[in-house]
């Protein structure tokens, strides 16, 4: 009898713990620390590309470096405390840099970049990163082993580069099935250059 009660209690506690985890927003500080540059990248080699014909992306980088840190500080205002952790509600600024198999050549960028703002909403299990000017959005979450999984929102593609003002260099990401989800490893900032 006591055993059954304990098992039921343990099951209840486990359920409650799981529920609490699900409702706790992901801590941005686990991905992006205050005033600290971060780089997550995956550069696909020729062998990978050969076995993934539905993938046009040869490199993906999600980086938070000097411009993003500087702009976060400018936006926070002069009275913001030094080394304050990223604001969960306001999110963090980052940059998505993508190289395509077929890009480059005359008057065509080889590598495309988009500014993104990543936020974690209450109850969400993932962070959402959005590209300004309705460039679309994607989710990021930690994977076992410490890598970061980037997944495009269902039914949406990304519009990268060019921002709001320059239509010449837009490029869509996500139209090919192999371009919708990427595992990115935390790596040195020099790998995001």
């Amino acid at each position: 009898m006591n055993g059954a009660i304990l098992r039921a209690l343990a099951a209840t506690l486990a359920l409650a713990a799981t529920s609490a985890r699900a409702e706790t927003p992901p801590d941005l500080r686990t991905l992006f620390s205050a005033d600290t540059p971060a780089c997550f990248a995956n550069v696909f080699d020729a062998a990978h590309m050969k076995t993934h014909p539905d993938q046009t992306v040869t490199a993906v980088r999600l980086v938070r470096g000097y411009p993003q840190l500087r702009m976060e500080q400018e936006s926070a205002g002069p009275d913001a405390p030094k080394d304050a952790p990223p604001d969960q509600a306001c999110g963090v600024m980052a940059q998505l840099i993508v190289t395509f198999r077929d890009s480059g050549g005359k008057d065509s960028p080889k590598r495309f970049a988009a500014a993104v703002n990543c936020t974690a909403e209450a109850g969400a299990s993932k962070m959402r990163c959005g590209i300004d000017c309705d460039g679309g959005g994607f989710f990021v979450e930690r994977e076992v082993g410490g890598t970061l999984r980037m997944t495009l929102q269902d039914g949406n593609n990304l519009r990268i580069a060019g921002g709001c003002t320059n239509r010449r260099a837009y490029r869509g990401l996500g139209t090919e099935p192999g371009d919708r989800s990427f595992s990115l490893a935390a790596t040195a900032m020099t790998d995001c250059r």
Partner: protein
């Protein structure tokens, strides 16, 4: 250009003082910028570091650097303006860099947009990701900068690609390093930018 999604952050973080600065700084920036990079007029800022300077700065890779707007760049600026799509003052420029121990004269096209702190930030459209800052340095010089200090005093490095190889095996990249963080370039005759 890559305008950063800062609108949500205005609501998040700006205090009244910051908000005031947001609306007043662009005016000051535009007045300064017009003198440094007047519309429809070519400009050349250039610097060649002499042997004494390089000996005193053994970790500096840059031996010569120039920032130029000629007919090609002014034509590009007109396209920006006439497109009616620009929300900020944009300039085009050509950056030329020679590095220590490298015979190549690197040439990279830049597009630069204004920012709230009085600087312009230039990226290489062909190989996006990095940027170099441009600010007036007095009436007759500009300061090019790679990376910068945060409020806590720490320096964060940055870079800009000098060619279009991007992810190639040996891309040409100018990094801030220890002694390539800022360059002051005086106004120079056009031939100094060739």
């Amino acid at each position: 250009m890559i305008p950063y999604p800062d609108r949500p952050r205005v609501a998040c973080g700006l205090a009244a003082i910051g908000l005031a600065a947001l609306f007043t700084t662009p005016v000051a920036f535009a007045q300064t910028a017009d003198k440094t990079f007047p519309q429809n007029r070519p400009t050349c800022h250039a610097r060649v570091y002499d042997a004494a300077h390089l000996a005193a700065h053994p970790k500096q890779r840059v031996v010569a650097i120039s920032f130029e707007r000629r007919a090609r760049e002014i034509a590009a600026e007109k396209v920006f303006i006439e497109s009616g799509e620009m929300t900020e003052e944009i300039i085009a420029a050509t950056l030329r860099v020679r590095l220590r121990g490298d015979r190549t004269s690197h040439v990279v096209r830049l597009e630069c947009e204004g920012a709230r702190n009085g600087a312009r930030y230039c990226e290489a459209p062909a190989c996006q990701g990095g940027e170099i800052g441009v600010t007036p340095d007095g009436a007759r010089a500009i300061r090019l900068s790679l990376g910068g200090k945060l409020r806590n005093g720490s320096f964060v490095a940055h870079y800009i690609h000098l060619d279009e190889s991007c992810d190639g095996a040996r891309p040409a990249v100018l990094e801030s390093g220890e002694d390539d963080r800022a360059f002051v370039l005086p106004v120079a005759p056009a031939e100094a930018c060739q």
